[in-house]
């Protein structure tokens, strides 16, 4: 595949790509001292722009291209109808500050979605504001903070985080002003309950649990753990990134979770967008719900809705009402599936993951080899050999598969975290298994093939060290900074 030039390489001085809109009013003189000589943008024709991005897109891999078993990310199918619906002018072309009377459809949608997420999660309240999972975590931790402060326990400043947790957990804890303390995992891949017990004192603000955890395992002693933390005055936050295993299977609220973020871009099939936008609504128990960020949608009459703030709200997490466009898609997903559909998806996500697990475990050691939920983690060194997980990943590309998440969770050496999702067919899973087993053979017989992989991609293996050393993070320009 040919290299695609950059926009600036394609640019030709003086080229005009569009006819700018007409000026139908008399012009007003502009303050010349404030005007810049050059805004530094490239100059291209419309066909060049179209081709550029079309060609770039072909150098990118999405769920629509093929199997994308990126663990922890839940790369399930993004329904095309949801894309159409979110683009309806009645959703896409409404202003966040319109008077409530003029956006009753949007408010009704948000209201129902709040209700459904409450129902699915077993919560008393939900705020749709957070823009992504990590922001949901921060939200929940700030609520935790406000709760303890409101109960005269501002001294509670420790948050326990399992060593298997996603990096956003400790980072969010720090941002919320807590001290993040790591707790180890036990032999079965659960949080080490004794370690938690040892940390249960009056400095404990709470614990951040991911369940199923990032090993794809259901915390076997979750109820005990929750009781323990509650018993010592702490709160339990649940990282809901893995809810695709639990919708209709178990409600976190029923397990005693006080606070949890949902990832609409995972569990509810809103697209990942090449890295975002996401949406990370937070659910809360009765005690915590008053602290939710606002605005939330409240019902103010029969089929009439308004924006309002929860009583003790921590404030707002983003400029307006959250990533509404994603809410539309999540609403559509839930509405299309209903109870049985959601549960069926969870069950089949678990079925697919276990099917791949048993298919691989002979060659790719699975450190905690018990029934997994929607994903599992194995070691990416086939037969315990010397080839690295990264090499396996790069080689997988040559088979047309996106590699799994690698080197996470940190507690498994050479980790490969595999999450097939329920939308994949058995045929796809079988093809993936076959590729993985072939790669295991290659690792034994021709390890160079892996170390030099990928061979079939538009570029071969890229020099990440050089990138970090040279730090070319914008295109160099003959003149200075384009000012």
């Amino acid at each position: 595949m040919m290299e695609e030039p950059t926009l600036y390489e394609l640019s030709v001085p003086g080229r005009l790509g569009v006819a700018p809109p007409e000026c139908d009013v008399p012009e007003t003189v502009m303050p010349s001292e404030l005007i810049r000589a050059d805004n530094g943008l490239p100059e291209l024709s419309q066909p060049e722009v179209v081709r550029h991005y079309l060609n770039l897109s072909q150098r990118n891999f999405g769920v629509d291209t093929g199997f994308y078993p990126l663990g922890s990310c839940t790369m399930k199918h993004n329904p095309k109808i949801n894309e159409q619906l979110a683009r309806l002018p009645g959703f896409a072309a409404i202003h966040p500050l319109q008077d409530d009377e003029t956006v009753q459809g949007a408010l009704a949608l948000m209201h129902d979605l709040q209700e459904w997420l409450k129902e699915i999660g077993g919560f008393a309240g939900v705020s749709l504001q957070p823009a992504a999972g990590a922001q949901g975590e921060l939200t929940a931790l700030l609520m935790m903070r406000a709760y303890h402060a409101g109960h005269g326990e501002a001294g509670r400043n420790v948050v326990l985080i399992p060593d298997s947790a996603h990096g956003t957990n400790p980072a969010s804890a720090t941002m919320a002003g807590f001290i993040a303390v790591e707790v180890p995992s036990d032999r079965r891949g659960n949080v080490d309950i004794e370690a938690v017990r040892a940390a249960c004192d009056d400095r404990l603000a709470g614990v951040m649990l991911t369940n199923p955890n990032t090993l794809g395992l259901f915390e076997e002693r979750i109820e005990e753990l929750v009781d323990l933390v509650h018993g010592s005055g702490g709160l339990v936050y649940g990282d809901g990134a893995n809810m695709n295993a639990l919708t209709g299977v178990a409600r976190p609220g029923d397990l005693g979770i006080d606070l949890m973020h949902f990832n609409l871009h995972k569990t509810f099939a809103t697209p990942h967008g090449g890295g975002g936008p996401g949406s990370g609504p937070v659910g809360a128990s009765t005690t915590l719900a008053p602290y939710l960020p606002g605005p939330v949608v409240v019902s103010v009459g029969k089929r009439e809705y308004a924006l309002g703030a929860p009583e003790k709200t921590i404030g707002r997490m983003c400029a307006f009402h959250g990533n509404f466009g994603m809410l539309v898609r999540a609403y559509a997903y839930i509405r299309a599936h209903g109870e049985a559909g959601l549960r069926g998806n969870a069950i089949h996500a678990v079925l697919n993951a276990n099917y791949v697990r048993v298919g691989l475990s002979d060659r790719y050691p699975v450190p905690f080899d018990r029934m997994c939920m929607h994903e599992f983690v194995c070691e990416g060194r086939p037969d315990g050999g010397s080839v690295r997980a990264l090499d396996v990943c790069k080689r997988l590309m040559d088979f047309g598969f996106h590699p799994p998440t690698n080197y996470f969770p940190l507690i498994v050496p050479e980790a490969l975290m595999i999450e097939p999702t329920e939308t994949e067919t058995k045929a796809t899973l079988d093809a993936f298994l076959e590729a993985m087993l072939q790669i295991a053979d290659e690792a034994r017989d021709a390890p160079e093939l892996l170390r030099e992989a990928p061979h079939q991609t538009p570029v071969r293996r890229l020099d990440e060290v050089r990138a970090a050393r040279e730090l070319i993070v914008q295109e160099p320009k003959a003149s200075s900074l384009g000012v």
Partner: protein, 450 residues
């Protein structure tokens, strides 16, 4: 929308392979007490019925395609060239995730690299991240960066009262996790220069917005020098459209430039998703929040792009990361990049000029109406896209009349931002507002006061 392609036969084979007899058998670890709860959700719908249902909901909203609109205050109606959605609808882009595996993600990586370049050029800065959630969270992270970067544990942030109140609100929320405090006067009519005396050696940053929430262009000249003399950082929030025409904050020595990127080809969509623009100086590259794309080469010497400086990020540095951000607003950045590439240097400048001309025409028309004053609190301050009109009655009432009798969405009720400003309307005019619409608004307002 059937998500589970399995036939009965296949399901059987898979269960056999796993060695459980039933699907339920996969869930023995889940406490029986809570297992398989009933969920009270509406019955599932076919794609056809779903489409009908959502169209019904959408139809209950007054939309900006059918209704002329003068509402801005942080979200704007700008023209979106058709190329933007064409690019966004490419499945290879929107169904991908963060480009962790660069060899399979060169498309998004190069697009982000080009986005970073264009943002650097527009803002006059040296480094741009590959997006944040929205303008408000970009601002909050900029403040955290300043607190982190400032020497000697400074905890004082001076913020202009004319920073968008919602953005200020997000900063306040984010600061709950710190012991830093916000300072500044209450009156949004003060100018950036009035804040200089508040900057002291305890100050981590001065934060100003231009055009500010009232639409006024702040005079940034000399500001950075004073701020830097005190050892603090200058954070400037902007409307990205203004960068097509006006000298960028980078030219005035700003340390961090943030913006909400929605005007750059992103539908208002009831406020989200948007795009947080975040650019800074090279000196702060290791404190930058969010993803950063860098150029490199492959084993055959071909140019390629990768995510770089991951050591700043949460998945590597965990509790000591520069931010917790993971999922960002990549697709919004792609929209903005496509938008900027499509309209190009001249087109982008012209769009900014049109916003200038049309908003000034509107201000002139309205100030010609006896009984209405425009920008009464700062008649000489230059403004861009937005201005304030003093009305003899509450904006609430006026907007209801505009809507019901004139089919117009009026301006913003400043009383929702500032106490005692219930009679002041913030009017936004972009290239989308035709002269006829503006005349209609001026006429309608005139009728209201006469």
């Amino acid at each position: 929308m059937i998500y589970t392609p399995h036939t009965d036969e296949e399901r059987r084979q898979m269960l056999d392979a796993i060695g459980v007899g039933t699907l339920e058998g996969l869930f023995d670890d889940v406490p029986e007490r809570v297992r398989f709860p009933h969920l009270d959700l509406p019955a599932p719908l076919s794609e056809m019925a779903l489409s009908t249902e959502l169209r019904r909901l959408a139809a209950r909203n007054v939309n900006l395609e059918d209704t002329p609109c003068f509402l801005g205050a942080g979200a704007y109606r700008h023209f979106i060239p058709a190329t933007v959605d064409y690019v966004l609808q490419r499945g290879e882009f929107y169904t991908a995730y963060t480009p962790y595996q660069p060899e399979m993600s060169q498309g998004m990586l190069q697009a982000m690299f080009e986005y970073q370049t264009m943002i650097c050029r527009l803002t006059g800065m040296e480094v741009s991240n590959a997006s944040h959630y929205d303008g408000a969270t970009s601002l909050a992270e900029a403040v955290l960066l300043a607190i982190d970067a400032a020497k000697g544990g400074r905890r004082r942030i001076v913020m202009s009262p004319s920073v968008h109140p919602h953005h200020r609100g997000v900063v306040e929320t984010y600061l709950q996790g710190t012991d830093a405090t916000l300072h500044g006067p209450d009156d949004p009519a003060v100018s950036a220069a009035d804040l200089i005396p508040l900057v002291d050696t305890e100050t981590a940053a001065l934060v100003v917005q231009t055009p500010n929430v009232l639409g006024r262009l702040e005079d940034l000249d000399g500001l950075a020098d004073v701020v830097h003399e005190h050892g603090a950082l200058l954070i400037v929030a902007v409307d990205p459209i203004s960068l097509g025409l006006f000298k960028p904050p980078g030219a005035f020595g700003a340390d961090v430039v943030v913006a909400d990127g929605q005007p750059l080809g992103i539908a208002p969509s009831f406020g989200g998703p948007s795009l947080g623009i975040f650019a800074t100086r090279r000196a702060y590259i290791r404190r930058l929040v969010g993803r950063l794309v860098g150029e490199t080469v492959d084993t055959e010497g071909r140019r390629g792009y990768v995510l770089t400086l991951a050591t700043r990020e949460q998945h590597i540095r965990r509790a000591r990361a520069t931010s917790n951000i993971c999922t960002n607003a990549a697709l919004g950045a792609l929209a903005a990049a496509t938008y900027l590439a499509t309209v190009g240097k001249q087109g982008f400048r012209r769009i900014a000029e049109l916003c200038w001309h049309k908003s000034h025409y509107a201000a002139a028309r309205i100030s010609n109406v006896a009984g209405l004053t425009v920008n009464s609190d700062a008649p000489n301050a230059p403004f861009f896209k937005e201005f304030v009109v003093d009305l003899p009655r509450p904006v609430r009432e006026v907007n209801a009349i505009l809507r019901e009798e004139h089919g117009l969405i009026g301006g913003y009720d400043l009383g929702r931002f500032f106490v005692g400003q219930e009679n002041r309307m913030l009017i936004a005019v972009t290239e989308m507002n035709t002269r006829a619409e503006i005349d209609h608004l001026a006429g309608a307002l005139g009728r209201l006061v006469s």
